[in-house]
């Protein structure tokens, strides 16, 4: 298809600061691929981006139904952003169900690109529409661009020899091509990705590329749009960047932790949404000194990792809430045996099976208190997809230095969401010190380092250091089974003290905003972005609001209590019913208020702004 320059319509280029686009279609429509390719093009063009995929738990829910709608939202901007955007400016709807499910989120006056070919009588009925919303005037408050993507895709592939099904599956490329055109992005990256994705299937590559280019050319020639848009590059810190999801960052963090410690990494895991991608990713890295073991169940997964740790390796297990519940007894074994272990909990909506593909922060109390006995375990939470990398490295360092299991909390929104990540220079990656005891002279299995209170790590195979450990209470030096009441109390208190001492190494907390004042918003984990953006907005409005983000949930930072006391009011937004708030209230006797949401979705910036405003008034 060649456009004729002479006929090219006059089109304005509108410069925008930030745009939020949501792609929505059937779960088989390829919306995730479309969204991530579009995001990639924006990132490569220099924008800051944040993405949020939102898909049903069913692999293929009935086509055309509301239950089967899969969405992918991306915000891209010419300035640093913190969230995937609250409400989309643009909705690409491949069928009526996609329109119906997502319309309530669209900004008033927002742009709808609707695939009219998907708006068949049957699909309208399945989505519960009595009349076609594209025709009955009900979308008058929006700008609707009807495009028969289905038919245009068929036309582009006429005579290609592909089956009707294969042709139908290519229509997402038309939408992608059109959107890339609308935002003035080059097609090259998407084409290159198609080639590597469908390696050995040149007919599919060719077809997809053809449709992609057809979508792009259609935008250019069809005179549907009076403007195209430009979102100039953001000023990010200098460096080399890539896009990264939280699960990818965790996998890379694990490889880095193994290499930086010089230990063999051993991941024991069992498939569970939304953590499985970590297992998938690591299983490809056998040449990086990491072994993956898909166990028979969650318990075996952590047990095998504990066995690896006993053998002097970096043991890791990854899971989500229901799996963590099953692992708790084994976590306690690692607490008692005082072995290093890395445990990743990618939280999802609960309780029970809950909302497997949706996000929530409701495992905090489970990981802190869900085990029998006095069982202190360090807990760190990642604040963004890229931050998962650093969090995992830090957790591994703590685990090894203090001979303890450490839990890293991520969640569904950062596990699958992406952001640009500045790739660390090798010099930024500090070695993780590992000291195995080899000297038999005076060895006692539970004798401790006076500073960290860690016992020595001994690799089996070391002559003269043969010893036995286990889950029964141990004599505080010899490690022999001990029922002595005083010894038990000493050991309980020592294990607690060991974990408390980790806080000595934390950097001072940083308050964003004034260091004291009217209101402090305290958050943890993936809500960082929404809270940071909301607090900035409030300050822009002249409100006295500061933000404190907690990476360490156990032990809590030593300066936290003092910081809380400097503010008249403390508010804790969480995607649960107030778990951190409960801890802050009991620990610091502070009358913290909560902003709580449990809808399987992240906070929107606007809702936080509103709720905080209410608290201020």
């Amino acid at each position: 298809m060649q456009s004729q320059p002479a006929l090219k319509p006059e089109r304005r280029v509108e410069r925008l600061d930030a745009v939020t686009v949501r792609f929505a279609g059937d779960s088989g429509d390829g919306m995730q691929l479309t969204g991530s390719e579009f995001s990639k093009a924006s990132a490569i063009a220099g924008n800051d981006i944040r993405t949020f995929p939102d898909f049903p738990a069913e692999i293929r829910a009935p086509a055309g139904t509301l239950a089967g709608v899969s969405g992918f939202q991306v915000q891209f901007a010419s300035h640093p952003i913190y969230t995937p955007g609250d409400r989309p400016d643009v909705l690409v709807a491949m069928n009526p169900a996609a329109l119906k499910a997502n319309l309530p989120d669209l900004k008033p006056g927002g742009l709808i690109i609707a695939n009219t070919g998907g708006f068949t009588d049957q699909n309208l009925k399945k989505a519960g529409y009595d009349a076609n919303p594209l025709e009955d005037g009900s979308l008058a408050g929006y700008r609707v661009i009807p495009v028969d993507i289905t038919r245009l895709t068929e036309n582009a592939l006429h005579g290609s020899g592909l089956s009707a099904r294969e042709i139908a599956r290519s229509k997402n490329m038309f939408a992608l091509g059109l959107m890339l055109w609308l935002y003035q992005r080059p097609l090259e990256k998407a084409v290159a990705d198609l080639r590597s994705k469908f390696v050995g299937r040149p007919e599919i590559v060719e077809a997809n590329e053809k449709v992609l280019r057809a979508g792009h050319a259609y935008g250019e020639t069809a005179e549907l749009f009076t403007s195209v848009y430009e979102v100039p590059p953001a000023r990010l810190a200098p460096g080399t960047y890539r896009n990264i999801s939280g699960n990818q960052a965790i996998a890379l963090g694990i490889v880095a932790a193994a290499q930086l410690s010089g230990l063999k990494g051993f991941l024991g895991s069992y498939p569970i949404t939304p953590a499985s991608d970590i297992l998938h990713e690591l299983s490809r890295y056998k040449n990086y000194g990491v072994t993956t073991f898909q166990a028979e169940d969650e318990i075996a997964a952590i047990s095998a990792a504990i066995g690896a740790a006993f053998g002097g390796n970096l043991g890791i297990t990854t899971s989500s809430g229901p799996g963590i519940a099953l692992k708790q007894e084994a976590i306690n074994l690692a607490v008692m045996a005082e072995l290093p272990l890395l445990i990743v909990d990618v939280q999802r909506g609960g309780p029970s099976t809950g909302l497997p593909t949706k996000t929530e922060q409701a495992d905090l109390l489970q990981v802190l208190f869900g085990r029998n006995g006095e069982s202190p375990v360090p807990v760190l939470a990642a604040q963004s997809p890229g931050d998962c990398f650093r969090t995992v490295l830090e957790a591994a360092r703590i685990a090894i230095r203090y001979m303890t299991p450490v839990i890293v909390l991520s969640d569904g929104s950062i596990a699958n969401g992406q952001e640009p990540w500045r790739i660390p220079e090798p010099s930024e990656l500090e070695r993780i010190q590992v000291r195995f005891r080899t000297d038999p002279e005076g060895f006692q299995p539970y004798a401790r380092d006076p500073e960290t209170l860690a016992r020595a790590w001994v690799r089996p195979g070391t002559p003269g250091l043969e010893h036995r450990i286990g889950g029964l209470e141990k004599h505080h030096l010899t490690g022999a089974v001990s029922y002595d009441p005083k010894n038990h109390e000493l050991m309980v208190r020592t294990r607690a003290e060991k974990i408390e001492r980790i806080a000595r190494e934390f950097p001072p907390l940083e308050v964003d905003g004034s260091p004291s004042g009217k209101l402090l918003v305290v958050g943890w984990g993936s809500t960082y972005g929404a809270i940071a953006a909301a607090v900035r907005e409030l300050r822009r409005r002249g409100r006295d609001v500061s933000h404190l983000h907690l990476r360490y949930l156990n032990p809590l930072p030593r300066d936290l209590g003092e910081i809380l006391s400097r503010f008249e009011r403390v508010v804790v937004p969480e995607l649960n019913l107030g778990q951190l708030r409960t801890i802050l209230r009991s620990r610091y006797l502070v009358d913290a208020k909560g902003i709580n949401k449990v809808q399987g979705r992240p906070f929107q910036v606007t809702e936080l702004v509103e709720r905080i405003e209410e608290l201020l008034s």
């Binding site: 990639k40 990132a43 490569i44 220099g46 990010l236 200098p238 460096g239 080399t240 960047y241 890539r242 896009n243 990264i244 890379l252 490889v255 880095a256 290499q259 063999k264 051993f266 024991g268 890295y285 040449n287 990086y288 000194g289 072994t291 073991f293 166990a295 028979e296 169940d297 318990i299 075996a300 047990s303 095998a304 990792a305 504990i306 066995g307 690896a308 740790a309 006993f310 053998g311 002097g312 390796n313 043991g315 007894e329 790739i423 660390p424 090798p426 990656l429 089996p460 195979g461 070391t462 002559p463 250091l465 043969e466 010893h467 036995r468 450990i469 286990g470 889950g471 022999a480 089974v481």
Partner: protein, 335 residues
């Protein structure tokens, strides 16, 4: 892994300073003595031996062995040992478990260790009762068993550990008896030689909660009638050679041998390498009860497959370089 040099260790080297705390008269003492007798013969330095156990009377075993030891949680020893062996193939890893630990709470891990053929030596003490929790019926207790939790008799059909192991395609499956020291030690040596998961069911007497469970096999008066010793390549004879096992179709039957009975040549000649269905059929016999090696075959060992795969990946892709991995495929630079 096997040391070629004789290490010159003795039984004493494998004893710890811990007071052994099983009930007086417990069958576990005899098993401990046999293990401590055999280990020095293996030529493996004791620092390269690890005992991993779960929970139960038998699982106290590691505390009494002067090797590396890990007394873990109920049922999980095979899973913990799998992670250990897979990352430390240089170690000889023994698992000590019981009928409750391995077949009730840990049934899943037992099954999966066997089907993967992890190079573990599993000692399964079977006393047909829960001892440490003071006398409840176990997965191997006989139907109708009256125990603390079944005052009117158990309505659970028992499992047969040998048949479960065979069903999971275990590459080494054997049975012995706590007090048959010579036989037990021979079985321990055989397991130590085997590459892959070796399971040894040890019929063990709990003299407090289930005394005499195996009396018919150990009592001098009755044991000849009830013990059938499996020996590779030899006809199945017992009762001092007066009786034997013949196959009728697929059913093993007890026959009189010699005068008035059948000729030895009609008896089943034991073959450890035979298809597992034969061993399965034989394992179903209660009277006589077979002891010895039911099955010993070679099949790929888990950690070797793992190592081989890793080697192949390195050959194909080269050793992984962290900076390249972190960069991924699509990068851009901000000046």
């Amino acid at each position: 892994m096997k040391a070629t040099a004789v290490v010159g260790l003795t039984r004493k080297d494998f004893q710890t300073d811990q007071e052994v705390r099983w009930c007086p008269g417990c069958g576990d003492y005899a098993i401990l003595a046999s293990v401590q007798k055999v280990l020095p013969e293996l030529g493996i330095p004791r620092e390269n031996i690890v005992f991993v156990s779960g929970i139960g009377c038998s699982s106290r075993f590691p505390y009494y062995m002067n090797t590396y030891g890990f007394h873990t949680i109920h049922g999980r020893a095979p899973a913990i040992a799998t992670g250990l062996k897979n990352t430390r193939p240089d170690l000889q890893v023994w698992v000590v478990t019981g009928d409750g630990d391995a077949l009730a709470i840990g049934g899943n891990h037992f099954l999966h260790a066997l089907r993967r053929n992890v190079d573990l030596k599993i000692l399964l003490f079977n006393n047909r009762v829960y001892g440490l929790t003071k006398g409840q019926y176990s997965p191997t207790s006989e139907f109708g068993k009256k125990a603390k939790s079944t005052p009117y008799g158990s309505i659970d059909e028992p499992v047969n550990p040998i048949q479960i192991a065979l069903g999971a395609n275990a590459s080494f499956v054997a049975r012995s008896i706590d007090v048959e020291a010579r036989h037990l030690q021979e079985m321990l040596r055989r397991m130590a030689e085997h590459r892959g998961t070796a399971v040894l069911e040890i019929l063990q007497n709990c003299n407090v909660f289930n005394d005499g469970a195996w009396d018919h096999l150990t009592n001098k008066e009755t044991k000849a009638e009830n013990q059938l010793v499996l020996e590779h390549g030899k006809p199945l004879l017992f009762a001092n050679g007066k009786k034997g096992i013949r196959l009728r179709g697929f059913v093993p039957e007890v026959v009189e041998v010699g005068e008035g009975g059948v000729d030895v040549s009609e008896l089943l000649v034991w073959d450890e390498k035979a298809p597992p269905a034969l061993a399965f059929a034989l394992a179903g016999l209660a009277s006589p009860t077979p002891i010895g090696v039911f099955r010993q075959v070679e099949r790929p060992v888990y950690h070797e497959l793992e190592e081989q795969q890793a080697r192949q990946v390195v050959e194909r892709l080269g050793p992984g370089e962290l900076s390249r991995l972190l960069a991924g495929r699509d990068t851009w630079t901000v000046e």
